[in-house]
């Protein structure tokens, strides 16, 4: 019984983790940027959806759309205002760009977090779910919203997979992550590819944020843990490997859910953190990473 419960609950939360981490790993794969604004963008999208539907009474569909657009806009601003200037800067030595991007996006994330807390308080907010009610799955009472979350996550992940592997524009992104110079030689402008990747990332982070807001609720305090969880899932799976992140998201999601149900919710994150440390010591490139 409790096993089934873990199976069902873990599936939805893992799908959400996977979606959140997917964009994060995509950006790293293509442009080598670790975006520590991630959690802040997700929270911003969720709070925008909440504000639009609960404060301004626009309904849950419009609210969700506004949230996702907010994620998109936030990601593009992050790229143009923080990441691109650092990468273009002549005052920063090349080998230190990575550290500066990390610090810069971290600061920008804190700024978003503080603005959200200032205008909408730091109370937890739950976005009005699009579907309501519960269903029984193999004897486990499951909110329909949880199913909805899992389905949307998987649909988006499948669309992303189709885009990257089948569409022409997507194949260019894939190629750019393998060999930027080769792609440039073929006449593709890397600057435009970066913008496209950040836009896709923004949509993914926005969708993940809104779904998280409907499923578990968010507050400005979620920013740090969200970034940390995406970061650890992506590193666990192997930086830049989309399949690896998918597997890692499920490992972490199920490990956390099982710990919460079987031991105590207070210990929820500890086994996942220990696993991460162990993987770092034994296989530093992550599960499916290539170095």
């Amino acid at each position: 019984m409790i096993g089934l419960q873990i199976l069902v609950d873990g599936f939805a939360i893992s799908a959400l983790y996977a979606l959140g981490a997917m964009g994060f790993t995509l950006i790293f794969g293509v442009s080598g940027v670790l975006n520590l604004t991630h959690g802040a963008l997700m929270v911003m999208a969720a709070v925008a959806a909440w504000a639009a539907s609960a404060l301004f009474g626009l309904g849950s569909y419009a609210g969700a759309a506004i949230g996702v657009l907010c994620g998109l806009a936030g990601a593009l601003v992050t790229y143009f205002a923080v990441v691109a200037p650092i990468e273009r800067s002549k005052a920063i030595p090349r080998e230190e760009k990575e550290i500066f991007v990390l610090t810069g996006t971290l600061l920008w994330g804190i700024m978003i977090q503080e603005l959200v807390a200032y205008f909408f308080t730091d109370n937890p907010k739950t976005v009005l779910p699009i579907v309501e009610g519960v269903v029984e799955i193999a004897g486990v009472r499951t909110p329909k919203n949880e199913l909805f979350t899992a389905v949307i996550c998987w649909v988006v992940i499948a669309l992303l997979w189709l885009f990257v592997n089948r569409a022409r524009a997507g194949k260019v992104l894939l190629a750019a992550s393998m060999n930027p110079r080769g792609v440039t030689l073929l006449g593709h402008d890397m600057a435009r590819i970066y913008v496209a990747v950040w836009a896709i990332y923004g949509l993914l982070a926005g969708i993940a944020g809104v779904l998280l807001g409907m499923f578990l609720g968010v507050s400005s305090y979620s920013v740090g843990p969200l970034t940390a969880s995406a970061f650890s899932i992506v590193v666990l799976g192997g930086l830049g490997s989309v399949t690896g992140s998918l597997i890692a998201a499920y490992v972490v999601g199920y490990l956390e859910t099982a710990t919460a149900y079987l031991i105590s919710p207070a210990y929820r994150v500890i086994p996942a953190l220990l696993l991460l440390v162990a993987v770092m010591y034994l296989r530093p490139q992550g599960l499916l990473g290539r170095r």
């Binding site: 923080v82 990575e98 500066f100 610090t103 503080e114 770092m280």
Partner: protein, 306 residues
């Protein structure tokens, strides 16, 4: 000692002497703020040794600080050992933690190592909550002893501690070993090929950084009389340390201390803004990173070098 002949050294001595006269000028409230700022400065300087010189992105300065603080605090709280022994034990614990943190740094670099340091903080935070009967959990740990209840004494102690730490760390950073460390941070392969033992220097850097972080963490506990996750270990505290060091100017040691004082002063000046003060401080730090990447002190030394 080449250090003694640089103008920067004498400016620093004058600044410390001037700061030492502050108890006769300003109120106890400001002294209290500065006391915390000085300990914070040591956190930032110890972090700069790892980041600026060894080239390691340590997202978990608070892991080392927390080990020192809680190691010292628990001994005092449980067994009522005298403060110096507690501080020594806390520092030792932090050094052990620092070396444990350094082992993966020898294998993995950049973002991978950054994540390990982040995980170390999260684990420590969780452990403190799990073993709450020993650590006081989320409420915090209270220690029966404090160094002094006199504001001036505490202030001078913090100032002296920061000055001595700054001197030692600067001396290490500018010594031949510091140069090797810097080389190893920029290109470990070439440094190794030149015949220097990269692993040994990195381990030493972590141990030194951990010792100062841990000792400062322990001193903060005996200054405030309490230790809690929110004031010493939270990732938000770690981010403040990082901002201080980057703001002041990385790879300068002293700049990190200036950045810490600036940060705490700015937080106080911006207090009327309420919830927006952190926003403004972060925005200033971001602008510094974007437009003056070498930091406030870097800007000054660049000007004088011309």
């Amino acid at each position: 000692m080449k250090l003694l002949t640089t103008p920067g050294f004498w400016i620093a001595i004058l600044a410390v002497l001037a700061a030492a006269t502050l108890p006769w000028w300003v109120s106890g409230y400001i002294l209290g703020l500065l006391t915390i700022a000085y300990y914070f400065g040591v956190f930032a300087m110890a972090w700069d040794l790892l980041f600026g010189f060894a080239g390691e992105v340590n997202f978990g300065p608070t892991f080392l600080i927390g080990l020192g603080a809680y190691g010292a605090g628990i001994l005092n709280n449980r067994y009522e050992l005298p403060i110096p022994y507690c501080l020594a034990a806390g520092t030792l614990l932090a050094v052990v933690g620092g070396i444990a943190l350094a082992l993966p740094a020898l294998k993995v670099r950049g973002p991978y190592f950054g994540l390990i340091t982040l995980v170390a903080v999260l684990l420590l935070q969780n452990m403190i909550v799990v073993f709450s009967d020993l650590t006081g959990g989320e409420i915090g740990l209270t220690v029966p002893d404090v160094i002094s209840i006199d504001t001036d004494t505490n202030y001078w102690l913090a100032l002296g501690f920061m000055a001595v730490s700054g001197l030692i760390l600067t001396a290490i950073a500018r010594s031949p070993a510091g140069l090797i460390l810097q080389a190893a941070g920029q290109d470990p392969v070439v440094t190794g090929a030149l015949g220097f033992n990269v692993a040994k220097h990195k381990l030493a850097a972590f141990a030194v950084s951990a010792a100062f972080s841990g000792l400062a963490g322990g001193l903060v506990v005996f200054y405030m009389g309490t230790a809690s996750v929110g004031t010493l270990i939270n990732t938000a505290v770690g981010v403040q340390v990082i901002i201080a060091a980057v703001l002041g100017g990385r790879r300068t040691i002293v700049g990190a201390a200036l950045g810490a004082v600036f940060l705490i002063a700015a937080g106080e000046v911006l207090r009327p803004l309420g919830g927006l003060s952190t926003f403004v401080v972060s925005a200033v730090a971001l602008l510094v990173i974007l437009f003056v990447p070498s930091g406030l002190l870097g800007l000054a030394s660049f000007r004088s070098a011309r």
